[in-house]
């Protein structure tokens, strides 16, 4: 039993199995990318949709209302990869992936399979067509066979972590070559390879090694070595990671652990620092929010032509940059666990908590008294909480 999706091809509805739908969408997306810059792109896509629809009709009958995933695959192979007739006319034939395979007239499944067979190895390239900045995300999306939006969102999210995404992005923008010739473009899009393909290839390499040995003893030896090598690699990697993490930690505590000393009111200082940080975070979040909803931050509009997401990334980087000293200060308080201060920290913790609690109580009280909305909201809280608030008020009044 398979899930079915309905698609609209040129005004007619067709029901496809879901995996067939995915394949068809990939095919059409790929076609659109190939035809990017062609003035007739939309018309060609419409023609192709029409042709697909015609083939669907041929596959359906009175008692068959759903096109199976296998039929969709077959139809896509019959259609063949869409190639722009105008761009790179001379070189396109040289890729060797042309569908004109005379040995299989009519371009049967064999022709398309040969076009995307193991002959065309997949490589990572930047793809400029439909790119937003330099095509890194586009290339990655093609390489791992996922939607480009997902890659972009991932990069944006990574940027939140100390700008890691941004760093990786710029490094890749410099290092990864751009796919410019049709051959490179074909390699960038690759065959049916996915991330799965990698594991597959690693395994294939392993078995390839296996094949070169004939007696059992050597077989076993190879297997053992392969496993050990993999394990060794993993172990080395882990050790390196933990070593460098340790190193960083040491550097950090060495550098910041010198001068901080417990003093009366450490809890208070920490509290103020935390408040400032919270405030900064609030400002940052609000700035992003207002940028996304209104396109302006505190009345400053984004310059025309710059997409919103660049603004968001810029804000995030700015936020990290501005709050960095604050974070460093906070860290310096947290990482002073050396013996003389250890005891003091035991006191500082609860003290800190008390200060926090006091602050929240004061905040609620102020809100209740001076902000009608807060007062109303408090009134509408469930009775139990309401009771608690009343108790608190009474207690406060007694003081």
């Amino acid at each position: 039993m398979n899930k079915v999706t309905t698609v609209n091809l040129n005004g007619n509805a067709y029901q496809l199995e879901e995996s067939g739908y995915d394949a068809l969408r990939d095919y059409l997306d790929h076609a659109a990318r190939q035809l990017d810059g062609n003035p007739d792109r939309d018309e060609i896509i419409t023609d192709i949709e029409q042709a697909v629809a015609e083939k669907f009709r041929a596959a359906l009958g009175a008692f068959k209302t759903v096109v199976s995933a296998r039929e969709v695959e077959k139809i896509i192979q019959e259609m063949g990869p869409v190639q722009d007739a105008t761009a790179g006319n001379g070189e396109a034939g040289a890729t060797g992936s042309g569908p004109h395979d005379a040995t299989t007239p009519g371009g049967g499944p064999g022709a398309a399979a040969a076009a995307t067979g193991p002959g065309t190895a997949k490589r990572l390239y930047k793809i400029n067509e439909g790119a937003m900045i330099s095509g890194v995300c586009n290339g990655l999306a093609a390489y791992f066979h996922v939607d480009v939006t997902i890659v972009r969102v991932l990069f944006t999210l990574l940027t939140f972590i100390w700008g890691a995404g941004l760093l990786v992005y710029f490094l890749m923008a410099f290092i990864v070559p751009t796919a410019s010739t049709p051959g490179e473009k074909a390699a960038a899009q690759g065959g049916p390879a996915t991330a799965q393909e990698f594991i597959h290839r690693a395994k294939a390499g392993y078995y390839e090694g296996m094949k070169t040995f004939h007696d059992k003893q050597a077989h076993r030896e190879w297997k053992r070595r392969f496993k050990r090598e993999m394990r060794g690699w993993k172990y080395n990697f882990q050790r390196e990671m933990s070593d460098s993490a340790h190193q960083w930690q040491q550097n950090w505590s060495h550098h910041w652990g010198q001068h901080p000393r417990y003093f009366v009111g450490l809890g208070f200082t920490l509290f103020i620092l935390k408040m400032v940080k919270l405030l900064c975070f609030g400002f940052g979040a609000y700035a992003v929010y207002s940028l996304v909803t209104t396109g302006a931050v505190f009345g400053v509009a984004l310059p025309a032509g710059i997409p919103v997401w660049i603004g968001v990334v810029f804000l995030i980087v700015l936020y990290h940059f501005l709050t960095w000293p604050l974070k460093a200060m906070l860290h310096s308080y947290y990482y002073t666990g050396t013996p003389p201060y250890g005891a003091c920290r035991a006191v500082a913790g609860p003290l800190d908590g008390l200060v926090w609690l006091g602050f929240i109580v004061v905040l609620v009280w102020l809100g209740d008294h001076y902000v009608p909305q807060v007062h109303e909201a408090l009134q509408q809280l469930p009775p139990a909480i309401h009771q608690a608030v009343a108790d608190l008020k009474q207690w406060w009044a007694r003081q």
Partner: protein, 108 residues
């Protein structure tokens, strides 16, 4: 590299010429063209044909009219323009010359 792969660029280059010939003989739609080419060395697929036809239309070599079909939505039927016929004549002449050269070269 087999003879088949070696001739990929040549077959690709000749496809436009063949389309001109097919369209000149009859008013056809894409499935007719594919049908006619299938079984020859020039068998091709929609993915190649549509972009090529749209390029030829942009160069005003071919034009199309919508025609109702017995089953399904209307289809695009292609025919040659004056310019297209002119191009066909020129290409045919040139092809005659090339194949003559290929035949006679090296013979004593």
């Amino acid at each position: 590299m087999g003879i088949n792969e070696k001739f990929i660029p040549i077959r690709k280059g000749l496809l436009e010429f063949l389309l001109l010939k097919i369209i000149d003989a009859n008013q056809v739609y894409v499935a007719d063209i594919l049908q006619e080419l299938s079984g020859t060395e020039f068998a091709t697929q929609e993915g190649t044909l549509y972009p090529l036809l749209s390029k030829m239309r942009r160069e005003e070599l071919v034009d199309y009219v919508w025609k109702e079909s017995e089953a399904g939505p209307p289809r695009k039927y292609y025919s040659l323009t004056v310019k297209g016929r002119e191009q066909l004549r020129e290409t045919s002449d040139y092809w005659q010359k090339i194949s003559g050269t290929v035949k006679t070269l090296g013979q004593k």
